[in-house]
């Protein structure tokens, strides 16, 4: 389990600053696919980070919402990575990113139906049996909905967790982005999701494009966390107590002090809003 503190995504650009300051960070998270090479600098840095901090491995390429079975080779590489670093958490997305053998490098949306629920559960079962660990499944940021969907997203996620035993990764920015884009209410979404299943929270930035019908929010991981997302986050923490919280900033990478300050803001909310609700560990 990750500690219920604020963490940040590890970027090689920040390595020297992190080591120099012995940075006060609750945990680091990496994208699994960036560490699937055999050796060299990425592994030397990750081993150093791992020895000093709790680690979360976050996959972006398993295509859990894909139509066919998982890529066995890729899953095997993921297993080796997890065996090598023994992360405190592994998480992936409710999305698809591969079609056949081709990888599209985006987290693409899927209709929520009885059929896709079965497929996603099979894929989560497969991941958990190969990795021999419980995974967390992250809610996506979406720009469109599908007429064929018959299950609300919150119910879909809850049912995957119920059937497979996986936990949830609650991306509060994704909730805000999707609900704004679909004209629904983020607070309703958060009221419907079983928060006790949440093992980690993600906070990231988004871009805004004005369309005639209102703003279209685009998950960018390239900006500071927006104020409404901070508010939703504080409400979640007030309801269920402190949870491991990651500040994601993958594009337009800021200098280390800026990222650290963003994490400190999450840390302050965890301390202030979650103090009375801290779970016994």
């Amino acid at each position: 389990m990750l500690p219920a503190l604020a963490g940040v995504g590890f970027k090689p650009d920040h390595f020297a600053a992190i080591r120099k300051d012995a940075a006060d960070v609750g945990f680091f998270e990496i994208h699994a696919e960036n560490y699937m090479g055999e050796g060299g600098l990425p592994h030397a840095q990750l081993a150093a980070i791992r020895s000093d901090y709790p680690l979360s491995i976050h996959g972006v390429g398993l295509s859990i919402g894909g139509a066919r079975g998982l890529d066995a080779d890729h899953l095997e590489r993921l297993r080796r990575l997890c065996d090598r670093y023994e992360p405190d958490s592994f998480s992936e997305h409710l999305a698809w990113s591969s079609h056949g053998a081709e990888y599209l490098n985006d987290l693409l949306p899927l209709p929520y139906t009885g059929e896709t629920l079965g497929l996603v559960c099979d894929h989560v079962d497969h991941v958990q049996s190969v990795l021999r660990r419980r995974m967390l499944l992250e809610n996506p940021a979406t720009y469109l909905c599908f007429a064929q969907s018959t299950i609300p997203e919150t119910e879909f996620l809850a049912e995957v967790a119920r059937r497979t035993g996986c936990g949830l990764l609650l991306d509060v920015n994704n909730v805000f982005v999707s609900c704004t884009n679909h004209g629904t209410n983020s607070r309703d979404w958060l009221a419907a999701i079983p928060l006790h299943l949440v093992g980690e929270i993600h906070l990231g930035g988004h871009d805004t494009e004005e369309l005639p019908s209102g703003p279209l929010l685009i998950d960018s991981h390239g900006a500071a966390v927006a104020d409404p997302v901070w508010s939703l986050y504080a409400e979640v923490v007030s309801r269920i107590g402190p949870l491991p919280t990651l500040v994601e900033w993958d594009n337009n990478l800021p200098d280390w002090p800026v990222l650290l300050a963003e994490a400190a803001r999450a840390g302050a909310i965890l301390a202030a809003r979650g103090a009375g609700l801290a779970r016994a560990s």
Binding site: D73, L108, L119, N181
Partner: protein
């Protein structure tokens, strides 16, 4: 066939520019096309950025305005076969070679080969170097060297090493000579991945070493290729880089 494979097929066809799949819903239905464009854009931009990160010198040489559409075209014709994007782009050099608008710049493909090889070297497996004393006492007639997995020898038709070096940040203006070059690429003990151009003697010596020949055979091959070649220079360079990982008699 279940519906989800059809859905994925249709969605992907639309990502490639085909008609949008049926059943898409937006808050305002006139905005469906615009919203789908977010996904099209994410795929195209993220792959183009991944390729730019992998081939920074090619981007510099052709310019960003040309590189971006070039990368998108390449991504459409040779999509990644793995989510590990550092491994994508093996076909980029060949693509550049066969791309008519770049026919006047035949050296670009060789520069791309250098950049791809550097990525492989950067991520190659770790292997500790042998103790230097082993070489001091070794019998050159019998000793064979095994080199680090990052070591790559590239025979190039164009002076691409010089072009690559000139386009490094603060890169020294290496003289541009016409004709083929052989590039030695390796990852040194500080995780740097330098690219060196080898003369005929060093090239023959490296080929012999990589081919499993003894040190004296390698030195002999170097002599044949280049009179008065001094094998010690290359040997010391390899040792300093920490890429001699086994020396067996």
């Amino acid at each position: 066939m279940p519906a989800h494979p059809d859905f994925v097929f249709g969605f992907d066809a639309a990502l490639r520019g085909g008609a949008l799949p049926t059943g898409l819903i937006a808050r305002d239905m006139t905005e469906v096309e615009r919203r789908f464009a977010v996904y099209r854009n994410n795929v195209a931009v993220s792959l183009s950025e991944a390729l730019a990160a992998r081939f920074p010198v090619i981007r510099r040489l052709v310019g960003e305005a040309f590189f971006t559409p070039l990368a998108r075209l390449y991504a459409e014709t040779d999509r990644p076969r793995t989510p590990v994007l550092a491994e994508w782009g093996a076909g980029f050099a060949g693509f550049l070679e066969g791309f008519p608008p770049l026919a006047a710049y035949p050296y670009l493909a060789d520069v791309a080969r250098i950049e791809f090889a550097r990525g492989r070297a950067f991520h190659a497996a770790d292997a500790p170097p042998v103790a230097p004393e082993i070489l001091a006492v070794a019998d050159p007639e019998r000793i064979r060297l095994m080199l680090h997995p990052s070591v790559i020898l590239l025979r190039l038709r164009h002076p691409a090493v010089a072009i690559w070096a000139r386009n490094q940040p603060g890169g020294a203006a290496m003289p541009l000579v016409q004709g083929p070059q052989t590039a030695l690429i390796l990852r040194d003990a500080a995780y740097q991945v330098p690219v060196q151009s080898l003369g005929a003697g060093d090239c023959a010596m490296m080929q012999a070493i990589l081919g499993g020949q003894t040190l004296s055979q390698a030195a002999g091959a170097a002599q044949n290729a280049e009179a008065n070649h001094d094998p010690q220079v290359m040997l010391v360079a390899l040792m300093r880089a920490g890429v001699i990982i086994q020396a067996t008699e």
